[in-house]
């Protein structure tokens, strides 16, 4: 029986390593046929801003990791609408690329449907 796994992504990219290492864990799990769903909430929604150019701070763009997700069977990602509203962001303003974003109003109900939650 395959477990339903949720990766809860709450960190902004670049300031600390958790956003990057979280996505790397999700990619590694998917490569082993343990496909996790992703929920971006809190500052994690900033991972989805378009046109990130971190070369000037000596980092690689996280958007490459995000865009790699569909290649590993992650077909969509959930985004907490309350977190967007708190930050004055619209779902339409985010970078969708190959990864369709699904707005979630009730993250409690979503979380309750999973067997395991990985926090990043």
């Amino acid at each position: 029986m395959t477990k339903r796994i949720l990766a809860l992504c709450r960190q902004a990219p670049y300031g600390n390593a958790l956003a990057r290492e979280g996505l790397e864990a999700v990619l590694a799990a998917a490569a082993m046929d343990q496909v996790a769903d992703l929920l971006f909430c809190g500052d994690g929604v900033f991972q989805l801003l378009p046109e990130q150019s971190p070369a000037g701070i000596g980092q690689k763009s996280l958007q490459r990791n995000l865009q790699a997700l569909p290649l590993f069977g992650v077909e969509q990602a959930y985004v907490c609408t309350k977190s967007l509203a708190q930050r004055g962001l619209d779902l339409e303003a985010l970078s969708q690329g190959q990864l369709p974003l699904v707005p979630v109003d009730d993250s409690a109900a979503l979380i309750a449907t999973y067997d395991s939650v990985l926090s990043f």
Binding site: A108, A109, I111, A112, D115, S119
Partner: protein, 93 residues
């Protein structure tokens, strides 16, 4: 029903408020480490959710009293809460 474990102070982190936004009827909240500062001052009088647990050792470490509305647990009780709930969701930043 989920167990939400919060380990950061509500006065300097949004971990607790983010957690409460994702808290469903039937879930439980466990305060550990600096999360026990939610017991300090005004926040302790009317907990936003029920039930609320806290690690007794973390509250004692910090010189905090545990109000009647919150249930103190030891390490065995912590394990039991994790065994009784699923998923276990950690809020640590």
């Amino acid at each position: 029903m989920s167990l939400h474990i919060v380990s950061k102070s509500p006065f300097s982190s949004t971990a607790l408020s983010d957690c409460l936004d994702a808290f469903a009827e039937g879930d439980a909240l466990l305060l550990i480490e600096d999360g026990v500062y939610a017991l300090s001052g005004r926040m302790s009088e009317r907990p936003a959710v029920q039930p609320v647990y806290c690690l007794a050792a973390d509250a004692a470490a910090r010189g905090l009293q545990i109000p009647d509305s919150v249930t103190a647990v030891d390490d065995a009780g912590w394990v039991a809460l994790c065994a009784e709930h699923n998923p276990v969701v950690s809020w640590f930043k």
